[in-house]
């Protein structure tokens, strides 16, 4: 019988193999792992280290350097709100405060029922149509508190 642990290991090895010809392939591999499993489990660190012939410290160092790589699964909906200057000029801070209040969590946290993860982000490249946000990889513009509420209701209840 195949234990879950070994199937993950096999899958990680396969992902590494798919990037065998790429230069400096660790980031693309980590992106694929996260896309597939939703997060980068600490169990994959030794596997990646062995496969890529680098130290476990190197792999751990890369995973923890980049904010994109999660150490645990995110909520079913990931809401990112931009807090950079252009969005601040049109009320981003108030929007973030509103989201924190409505969801009952702070930026960087997930609601207890696992439905929404709220994150801050610095710039989504939608600076003329702020405040900007991203709901599960889709950029949204001109987010008022009311528009955000409607969007959350629509996304979370889907």
């Amino acid at each position: 019988m195949v234990s879950p642990g070994s199937s993950v290991t096999d899958r990680v090895r396969a992902l590494v193999a798919a990037h065998r010809g790429d230069r400096g392939a660790l980031l693309p591999i980590l992106h694929r792992i996260q896309a597939e499993f939703g997060y980068v489990d600490s169990d994959v660190v030794p596997v990646l280290a062995a496969e890529l012939n680098i130290s476990r410290a190197d792999v751990h160092g890369v995973i923890t350097f980049y904010t994109d790589f999660r150490s645990e699964p995110a909520g079913r909906t990931v809401l990112k709100l931009c807090r950079a200057e252009a969005c601040q000029s049109v009320g981003a801070e108030q929007l973030v405060a509103h989201a924190e209040q409505v969801l009952g969590i702070k930026c960087g946290q997930t609601t207890p029922d696992g439905s929404v993860t709220l994150e801050q982000v610095f710039c989504l490249g939608n600076c003329a149509l702020g405040p900007a946000g991203q709901v599960n990889d889709r950029v949204r513009g001109r987010l008022s508190p009311a528009r955000l509420d409607a969007l959350l209701t629509e996304t979370v209840n889907r």
Binding site: D22, R23, G24, A25, L26, L27, P28, L30, H31, D58, G61, V62, F65, Y66, T67, D68, F69, C82, A84, E85, A86, C87, Q88, S89, V90, E93, V121, F122, C123, L124, G125, N126, C127, A128, L129, G130, A132, Q134, D137, R138, V139, R140, G141, R142
Partner: protein, 513 residues
């Protein structure tokens, strides 16, 4: 057959362009229509901007909300009929007519992924011209054009290329820095989404000029649409034989995606990240042109620098050099953002005043309140006061005013802005995004937040202001790269022009986050 354009640019998508396109298809019923998903013209306040091809030209309607489609179609949108959202012939709008578009010539006009459309609108002319010349002549052409790096630092592109060309080696790289992390900038994203072939062509020319065989485009993960479009465009370009095995000269191109680290927009941190490492800044020298990606000679240029190259080769260095002022030659793609009534892309020769851009074209603030502060050049750029906007937009004039033109991103704030809070945010941002390699940046930013908090709370303001001044000087002089080195710029400019906002009873102050 009626042809309709609905942008696929993510700014347009952020306000429902996909839903608009779907509704248009539905509303067309039996009427044969063809919907082309173009890039955005850069008049972002009009997005989603729907265009209908008529014998008068492309008639625009915007901003079109999905709910408004049925009404528009009933009013005769498919025939270009008048309506309160009708903007007339898009190409004749003053915002577009007054621009000089070289980099953005095709953005919004063409189907971004249609190679025939690209060639029909002047695409490949630059690469063809380049291949008729020797690599040395191509480098000379770029040098003569006066093109300076568009990423912010403004280093002459031709000199960088010449260094790489002159460094012998069997393997050289072209790396495009598309880690556009600065608030108030979106031109790189819009070009990649709206005319990706131009970037590919620019990179192919660079590769030919310096003898590079591999290229990487490092795109931030916050831009999923740009990543998709760029990857599709590269596949098309390979298929067309513009790059890859079928191309006349050996050059292939890959997209790499960042992972949420602002510092990877710094060129050496980006190289580390491309090598699969933490995005830690490298000490320079050695410079990337000699010891770059995997230690090989590497051109690192910004998206718009490389995307300017095809037009320079096609039109000649002299024509490009004729545009602009002083040592700022050619055009710059200005980005108008933040609290502005009409935000978007404005490509024009260097030299127009900031005042004109913000008030004449931008129409002042979105809220209708007076402009109070403007930040130019991203989070590391200075804040300018409302009475200091009569400044020609060129590198040296900005430097002389203690500011930075950078990549031409302009963020407008109205009179409700708390500049003490913005100064604090500059430090907070640096603390959040510092790579941690050098102490002035890693520790200085954290201390900066603390000392600004003390000043704003009224604790020994004179001593703490002196301390903040010292800290800013130390960060400026002692940091390894521009992150720590320029963070003092917004802080000091805020202190200089908006000192009142730093006291505990300041008019717009009101507390910290």
């Amino acid at each position: 057959m009626t042809t309709i354009y609905v942008p696929r640019d993510s700014a347009a998508l952020s306000l429902g362009a996909d839903e608009v396109a779907a509704k248009l298809r539905q509303a067309a019923g039996d009427r044969p229509i063809q919907i082309i998903r173009n890039g955005s013209h850069g008049m972002l306040w009009l997005e989603p901007l729907v265009e209908v091809v008529t014998e008068r030209g492309r008639i625009g309607y915007g901003p079109v909300e999905p709910e408004a489609v049925d009404d528009l179609v009933a009013a005769g949108l498919f025939d270009g009929a008048d309506h309160e959202l009708c903007q007339g012939v898009v190409a004749d709008l003053p915002w577009l007519k007054d621009q000089t578009r070289l980099c953005f010539a095709r953005v919004g006009v063409t189907d971004p992924l249609d190679p025939d459309d690209y060639v029909a609108h002047g695409g490949l002319a630059g690469l063809r011209k380049a291949l008729e010349k020797t690599p040395e002549e191509v480098v000379a052409e770029v040098t003569d054009s006066g093109l300076r790096g568009r990423g912010g630092a403004g280093f002459p592109a031709g000199i960088k290329w010449k260094t790489v060309a002159g460094t012998p080696g069997p393997l050289k790289f072209i790396c495009c820095n598309a880690d556009e992390g600065d608030s108030g900038t979106f031109a790189d994203r819009m070009l990649m989404e709206g005319d990706p072939f131009t970037l590919i062509e620019g990179m192919a020319i660079a590769a030919y000029a310096v003898g590079a065989s591999e290229g990487y485009i490092y795109i931030r993960s916050e831009y999923p649409d740009a990543v998709r479009t760029m990857r599709e465009a590269i596949a098309v370009a390979r298929d067309q034989g513009w790059i890859g095995e079928k191309a006349g000269h050996r050059f292939d191109l890959h997209v790499r995606v960042g992972a949420g680290a602002y510092i990877c927009g710094e060129e050496t941190a980006m190289l580390e990240s491309l090598e699969g490492k933490r995005g830690m800044v490298r000490a320079k020298p050695p410079i990337p042109a000699i010891t770059g990606l995997f230690g090989k000679p590497t051109v690192v240029n910004n998206v718009l620098t490389l995307a300017s190259v095809p037009a320079i080769l096609a039109g000649g260095a002299a024509a490009y050099q004729e545009l602009g002022v002083e040592r700022s030659r050619g055009t710059q793609v200005f980005q108008l953002a933040g609290n502005v009534a009409r935000g978007g892309i404005f490509e024009t020769a260097f030299g127009m005043t900031l005042e004109k851009l913000i008030h004449t074209y931008g129409g002042g603030t979105r809220t209708g309140r007076p402009v109070r502060a403007v930040q130019v050049g991203g989070p590391l750029g200075a804040y300018l006061p409302a009475d200091g906007l009569d400044l020609p937009m060129e590198y040296e004039a900005f430097a002389a005013a203690g500011a930075m033109l950078g990549h031409g991103g302009v963020v407008v704030f109205d009179d409700t802005v708390d500049m003490g809070a913005m100064a604090r945010f500059a430090m907070e941002f640096c603390a959040e995004e510092s790579c941690g390699k050098c102490t002035p940046c890693r520790v200085g930013a954290v201390r900066g937040v603390e000392v600004i908090d003390k000043i704003r709370a009224g604790q020994d303001p004179d001593d703490n202001l002196a301390l903040l001044g010292d800290l800013c000087e130390l960060m400026t002089e002692g940091s390894l790269c521009a992150m720590g080195g320029l963070t003092p710029m917004p802080v000091r400019s805020a202190l200089l022009h908006f000192a009142d906002d730093f006291g505990p009873g300041s008019p717009n102050g009101g507390g910290h986050r």
